[in-house]
Amino acid sequence: MTQSIQDAPLIVAGRRFASRLLVGTGKYRDFEETAAAIDASAADVVTFAVRRTNLGQNPDEPNLLDAISPSRYTLLPNTAGCYTAKDAVRTCKLARELLDGHNLVKLEVLGDDKTLYPNVVETLAAAETLVNDGFDVMVYTSDDPIVAKELERRGCCAVMPLGSLIGSGNGLLNPATLALILEHAEVPVLVDAGIGTASDAALAMEMGCDGVLMNSAIAHARHPVMMAHAMRKAVEAGREAFLAERMPRRQSASPSSPFAGRING
């Protein structure tokens, strides 16, 4: 009997994505490397940041959105660098204008610049304002199951707990709380932040996460394009392992080769 390994697409706020790997565009050497890595990752959703335009410098300098075409990818503007709900909401509105009304955003409101840990009080306030203003909000948050549920209640379309600190590459530091979030969530749960290498991404997917968002793990690898491809396979492998439902753990051994018919029997 052939078993189907057909997976359902990731659906976020009614949008369907074939890939469950979402990638950022920061920290690359140049736009050429950015584009090559994202191509190798096969990601459909690509994040970017919103910043003041450098005025009076080189107006012909290349633009990220020329390298990462909005017609090929679903762009996910973030609110990185915002420390208050007000600034995050302003940034989302600027991003919506930048992308001609596209309303899917990644909300992150940070607590301090040393840990980049989310300020959940400001995040909750911003989420509520943005949802009421018609945004589809994918929200970066701590790995607190109660906060995750509160964000879901405020209408966020995806909850994205950190695996560990942004840019740390420390992987999933608290799988137990992540499991609690997964157990109770009714919207997609994606690990955002902390992924260091392929096994971290695979583990998140094996646990049942709906997707993984990463930037530094690819961009700061010595060979970003190769790591992007590794992450693609890790997310796919982890997802399939989750769907296949792993064997039970047991304390005793169990031989794979039959005892019967041994020549010494």
Partner: protein, 78 residues
């Protein structure tokens, strides 16, 4: 002296442009400002006094003395 002061005040219009003071002889529209910065046709978004001004309104939105203007674009981020 007083006349000079009045002339000076009328001639100089100052706005905050991406956090820096910027002076103009008259009150440009946003479209004129964008053009003067060499940003016409670029993928940017603009807010004036913390309110988005849609692209379709740039030509008819005139800046006033004391306005605060932010011009942003997309950059790499995670």
């Amino acid at each position: 002296m007083r006349l000079l002061e009045i002339c000076f005040r009328e001639a100089a219009m100052q706005i905050q442009l991406n956090g820096e003071p910027s002076h103009f002889d008259d009150e440009p529209t946003l479209a004129q400002l964008v053009d003067s910065l060499g940003l016409s046709g670029r993928r940017i978004a603009i807010e004036v006094n913390e309110e988005i001004v849609p692209r379709s309104l740039h030509a008819q939105t005139r800046l006033r003395d004391g306005d605060s203007v932010e011009i942003v674009h997309a950059i790499g981020g995670g």
